[in-house]
């Protein structure tokens, strides 16, 4: 049986006509005496022939139209990257902006109250927070915008990585990654 296994591993080379003469002769001698291997090879030939004759499918009539539509959508997303934010990202960004606005409102409102001279109790933590906000936290619109851009850049990077992911090392070499 181990001998049969050895010969069976040569079937592909034999069928492709790539088995060296000495090994081919040895295999054919084995096939002449081993009914099991001869029958297996015969069945493989029929299966191989059947594989070559499987019906060929054709793409559905609207295939190219749909592809062009997908390409147009892709290009639209590239032109307006904000649209490429998916599902949860838009509401999440919206919520973040609302919270940031609320925070700014509270900070400025608090500062106005402090400068108006009203005798208001200010907890120590809030005082520290106010000082801290005065120094570094109060963002200008110009500081907010780059955050969005970096988010978009991250999105683009993810898409690139996805592209790389579908390619194995050989295509990574082709694509220069």
């Amino acid at each position: 049986m181990a001998e049969c296994d050895k010969f069976r591993m040569q079937f592909t080379d034999y069928l492709d006509g790539e088995l060296p003469v000495a090994e081919r002769t040895e295999l054919e001698a084995h096939l002449a005496i081993c009914e099991s291997c001869a029958e297996t090879l015969r069945q493989i030939r029929i299966i191989q022939q059947s594989l070559q004759n499987v019906p060929t499918l054709t793409t559905s009539p609207g295939f190219e139209t749909r592809l062009h539509q997908m390409i147009r959508e892709q290009e639209t997303r590239s032109a307006f990257p904000f649209w490429s934010f998916q599902g949860w990202k838009v509401p999440a960004m919206g919520s973040a902006l609302v919270l940031a606005s609320l925070g700014l409102f509270l900070v400025f409102n608090h500062q106005e109250e402090a400068t108006s001279g009203k005798a208001t109790y200010i907890p120590a933590a809030a005082q520290i927070s106010t000082q801290f906000n005065k120094q570094s936290v109060t963002p200008s619109p110009a500081q907010v915008k780059p955050v969005q851009e970096s988010e978009i850049a991250t999105q683009d990077t993810l898409m690139e990585e996805d592209t790389v992911q579908i390619n194995h090392r050989q295509v990574q070499f082709i694509t220069g990654h």
Binding site: Q43, R45, P55, L57, T58
Partner: protein
């Protein structure tokens, strides 16, 4: 060179010329590549994932990636190698997605809805081999093969690729390709041998 490629006319523009034109901005060259490869990619992916709708979606996605990443193609490999690599990887991703989905579904006792056809293990016993084996038997047997054997069998025995190009598409050594083809064929034979049982000798056409 595949069966389809062999049938092309001698003076037809090559794939590499077309992708070069496309890289220069000629969108018609892209359309020509789509027309040239859409059916053969569909057959490759369909045999791999076993579902026509999914296969067509994967082929669409393949061309979309080609369109979007056209400048990543460098003419150190054949265009066919590149596009088959992309399609093959997307097909494998789909199989992994299904596997995850299946595990999730089973863990949640949701069995009534399946998003793809699971091959039948029971095949009608009255079906015998005539000149060739019926396509549905072949497809089911292909789907039962482990993916690493399935992909080489499809590329070699159905699509007619040379071993060298299969080696490049799958990024595996030539010897591994041949070994997997051999083992894949033996597995198919093992799976389909019941069709040959009680078959009168001489009724099956043997080209060998």
């Amino acid at each position: 060179m595949t069966k389809t490629q062999r049938t092309r006319r001698k003076h037809e523009v090559t794939d590499e010329e077309l992708i070069a034109r496309f890289q220069m901005g000629d969108v018609q060259a892209f359309d020509a590549l789509v027309r040239r490869y859409k059916d053969q990619l569909l057959n490759f992916v369909f045999r791999f994932v076993g579902n026509r709708t999914d296969a067509e979606d994967i082929v669409q996605e393949t061309f979309l990636r080609v369109y979007k990443n056209k400048h990543y193609y460098k003419e150190i490999a054949k265009f066919s190698t590149w596009v088959y690599t992309i399609a093959g990887n997307l097909a494998k991703t789909e199989l992994r997605r299904r596997k995850r989905h299946k595990i999730f579904s089973v863990s949640n006792f949701v069995n009534e809805e399946k998003d793809y056809d699971i091959p039948d293990t029971e095949i009608a016993p009255d079906r015998k081999v005539d000149e060739t084996i019926k396509e549905d038997y072949i497809q089911k047997a292909i789907e039962k093969l482990p993916p690493k054997f399935r992909e080489v069998i499809i590329l070699r025995d159905i699509q007619g690729f040379a071993y060298e190009e299969i080696s490049q598409i799958l990024n595996i050594p030539l010897g591994t390709v041949k070994s997997r083809v051999n083992r894949g064929r033996l597995k198919l034979q093992e799976d389909l041998k019941f069709l040959f049982e009680n078959e009168p000798k001489g009724t099956v056409k043997n080209e060998g």
